[in-house]
């Protein structure tokens, strides 16, 4: 029996991704902020931020079996790095009201001076990558002592580090860099992203975050399917067996941790550009818990699951269940019950139901491609 090793390049998947991106670009043009459907774009923007955050957490928690709760900390580092290096010099003094800003450099500004409008895009891209690198560097520092710890001790230690990072960024003495406990604003943000080609103006507010998330998630999928991804899964399944088969635990855990944190940093940068502000007090452990719940909703150990889980989470909490907060839902009007906060209550009950009764989440450990393949097989009958 000869096996087929040469994996066909998945043209179908590539085409699907391109079509999706084209549709997003098109929606970006036709839906104006005043439109009722603008919610869809908001969901796409925030959804892609959380999708990347969830997928990167899943790389660590789901594929490598390292239960880490430090995600919000790495996102914070990403958000701040991105924000600090994209504030134009004209706006800097207004942002750093109480401090003498130490960093007076903006990638988009500097590069647009050299390369023109394209420089802005390149500058944003560099700032995003730098955000990831900073998060990965901190992860490396933190990983040295904590990755030796087992399951829940690792969880609580990483949670602790996230809190320490938050305190450092809020420290008044670092104000010239981080603006202390005040928020950062006026940096390059999605609401301003557009492309001008002569007369035509292309709005990119949704397209850019979706694009960054798509590329990042494709890279993570590639990694998971590579020999390193398999080694990660071996560590998750049985650490002792993995080590006995020559897999260096310390090295591979560190790789998974830094890569996961790199993309957490990127998603933090995306969060800053989508929300137009960055403030340390937003990146509490509650944020990590929310991302974890998205991963659980989609199915731990499934990348497609994490993506689906986060879009559902965002869509439900930002859009579909909104009526629960504002008086009427599905035509039922009950202002006494449907008031502020009810949405989140219903939502957390749904989550608890998933956690308790549908422990595998939406996808289990399967991917979209597995589901499609088994469909095809069924349709094709018994033919081999």
């Amino acid at each position: 029996m000869k096996q087929e090793y040469r994996k066909k390049t998945s043209w179908g998947a590539l085409l699907a991704v391109l079509v999706f991106l084209a549709v997003v670009l098109w929606l970006d043009q036709i839906i104006k902020p005043t439109n009722k459907m603008y919610m869809l774009l908001t969901v796409l923007q925030k959804g892609s931020v959380y999708a990347l955050a969830a997928v990167s957490m899943n790389l660590l928690n789901g594929y490598t079996g390292l239960f880490s709760l430090g995600h919000a900390g790495f996102m914070l580092i990403g958000a701040y790095t991105y924000a600090i290096f994209t504030i134009p010099s004209s706006a800097r003094d207004a942002v750093y009201q109480y401090f003498d800003a130490a960093v007076r450099f903006s990638f988009p500004e500097a590069l647009s001076g050299v390369m023109g409008p394209a420089g802005t895009a390149v500058g944003v891209l560099i700032a995003v990558i730098l955000a990831g690198l900073m998060a990965a560097f901190f992860a490396w520092l933190i990983g040295l002592p904590v990755l030796r710890l087992k399951s829940d001790y690792l969880a609580i230690a990483t949670l602790g580090f996230a809190e320490i990072i938050r305190a450092i960024f809020q420290w008044q003495k670092l104000g010239p860099i981080t603006n202390g406990s005040n928020l950062l604003k006026n940096f390059a943000r999605t609401s301003k992203f557009k492309l001008e080609l002569g007369d035509t103006k292309l709005v990119l507010s949704t397209f850019v975050p979706v694009l960054i998330a798509t590329i990042s998630i494709i890279i993570i999928v590639k990694l998971v399917n590579s020999t390193y991804g398999r080694a990660f899964k071996a560590i998750r399944d049985d650490e002792i067996a993995a080590e006995a088969m020559g897999i260096n635990l310390a090295k591979h855990k560190m790789l998974s941790f830094t890569v996961s944190s790199f993309f957490a940093g990127v998603s933090g940068a995306m969060m800053a550009m989508v929300l137009s502000i960055a403030q340390a007090s937003n990146f509490k452990s509650a944020m990590t818990y929310e991302i974890l719940l998205m991963v659980v909703l989609g199915g731990i150990g499934s990348t497609s699951g994490s993506v689906i889980g986060s879009f559902l989470f965002v869509a439900a909490s930002e859009w579909w269940l909104r009526g629960l907060d504002s008086g009427s839902f599905l035509g039922i009007s009950a202002p006494g019950i449907f008031r502020n906060g009810f949405r989140l209550v219903v939502f957390s009950i749904i989550i608890m139901i998933v956690v308790l009764f549908f422990r595998k989440g939406i996808m289990g450990e399967r991917e979209i491609s597995d589901v499609l393949r088994s469909r095809k097989k069924k349709a094709g009958g018994t033919a081999k």
Partner: protein
Amino acid sequence: MRKDRPCVLRVEDVTMQFGGVVAVNDFSMEEYEGEIVAIIGPNGAGKTTAFNVITGVYAPTNGRVSFNGSKVIENFPKGKMKKGYLGENAGKYTETLEPTPDKLTALGMARTFQNIRLWPSMSVFENVLIAKHMKRTSNLFSATFGANRAEEIRQREEADALLETVGLSDVRNELATSLPYGKQRRLEIARALATEPKLLLLDEPAAGMNPQETVELTRFIAEIRDQFHVSILLIEHHMDLVMDISDRIYVLDFGKMIAHGTPTEIQANEKVIDAYLGVADDA
């Protein structure tokens, strides 16, 4: 004994002490290329502990292990253990060399486990393929972006060839843990062989097998030695198997080596018979 051949494994004065319990006491052995050597002994004699020291799971309290002529593990009692040390040869070793198991696997040792440790969520094929990870030349980036394609294809071919050899090709895509017990054992050995070892360590390979399966396994182990040119060190309780295929046998009792020699010598050894059957109180 094949003393004309190079020594693959040399264990010198290894003592392993947990708190006040000396699990292995002053154990020495050697194994020469192409040999099948067995460590036997009653339950609790320290066989698995000795195994875990040799494969790097535990750092020994005292002693040295050399592999392929170079020193790989060495330790001596220090810290708290210095005072409480109950073993022998305390002053003989002065270096500390405590590699993790993966380093030893990289040098050419591979093991199986007493209680089978396959990766449960993965297929038979993947279980073997992952053991090839160690042999990669790619790094994280080249592997992620597909620049290691040739190597990936080669490793997949090698994994399949190995499954063919051990007769598991037909269950290639099944979940590893869904296999019957005997095949799981076989797969674990195949997985160890995928790391291309010089020395294969089998921890009770026949545990839980019926006589028929044990006979098959005995033949399988002998075949492996010849086909893959490996030396084999095994721990086993099934005496038929041990006597059948071992070139030499070491006998442990209460952590101490009480005898070693060829199967015929061991079968005639008084001390071994006493250890297994127990000695009358007045002896």
